[in-house]
């Protein structure tokens, strides 16, 4: 594919849009310097190339930031690297879900899984939770459309998890024999 017109299509002023997100993220203690924003944009370009996708308009980064800025697992120490990883994961799963899912639906799903199932673990989000959901979408599941992606985070979760009672029991046994 001729890269020239693809670059033209993607060459919108997204850097300023990303910097504008500081206005609402600073209440969560999260801000980006221009250098941070440039780093995110550079990674955006390589992620899009790797996933063979073309982005137009405002792009997804401001939306990712708005969705995740209130996360319990993001702070100023991991903010930039987390946004970069979320960007990578987003483009990957737009492909894995065959573009059946809208941007907002995927972001809502990612956020809920990140917070509730993954406890901030991006590797777990990428390799387990979203992979399970992508398989379901490829098999024809469309239930997420009714809720805009909300409330679906555990729909296809197949992991055995500890209940609170089981955890308490195991802890008692461990500590007090």
């Amino acid at each position: 594919m001729d890269k020239n017109w693809v670059d033209l299509l993607q060459n919108t002023n997204q850097l300023s849009k990303v910097m504008e997100t500081n206005r609402y993220t600073e209440e969560f203690g999260l801000t980006l310097t221009e250098k941070d924003a440039q780093l995110i944009m550079e990674n955006r370009k390589s992620a899009l190339q790797e996933q063979r996708r073309v982005e137009f308009g405002e792009g997804i980064v401001p939306k990712i930031i708005r969705e995740f800025c209130d996360s319990a697992y993001i702070d100023r120490n991991n903010y930039v690297e987390t946004i970069i990883r979320l960007q990578d994961i987003f483009y990957l799963y737009k492909n894995e879900m065959n573009d059946e899912i809208t941007d907002d639906e995927l972001l809502h799903l990612m956020k809920e899984q990140f917070e509730i199932l993954c406890f901030g673990d991006l590797d777990y989000l990428e390799t387990n939770c979203l992979a399970d959901f992508a398989r379901a979408i490829r098999a024809g599941y469309e239930g997420y459309k009714e809720t805009d992606g909300y409330g679906e985070y555990a729909r296809f979760d197949v992991q055995e998890r500890w209940s609170y009672e089981l955890y308490q029991e195991a802890l008692k046994e461990l500590c007090w024999g």
């Binding site: 594919m1 017109w5 299509l9 996708r53 073309v54 137009f56 792009g59 573009d99 941007d103 907002d104």
Partner: protein
């Protein structure tokens, strides 16, 4: 009529928005190529636009 690439790219961007019903900010290379092909008629090394209705 001949069009420069810079004139056609915004048309492709608008087609992409319409194709995704503005619900996605990105599309695959394949889809983008299809959309570009929809407004192009390649010939003689120069691009000639098929669709003129979308021109501002």
């Amino acid at each position: 009529m001949n069009y420069e690439l810079e004139e056609l790219v915004p048309i492709v961007a608008r087609l992409a928005e319409g194709y995704t019903s503005k619900a996605s900010t990105s599309i695959t290379y394949d889809r983008a190529q299809q959309l570009m092909s929809a407004v192009l008629y390649p010939g003689g090394g120069e691009f000639r636009a098929v669709c003129t209705d979308d021109r501002d």
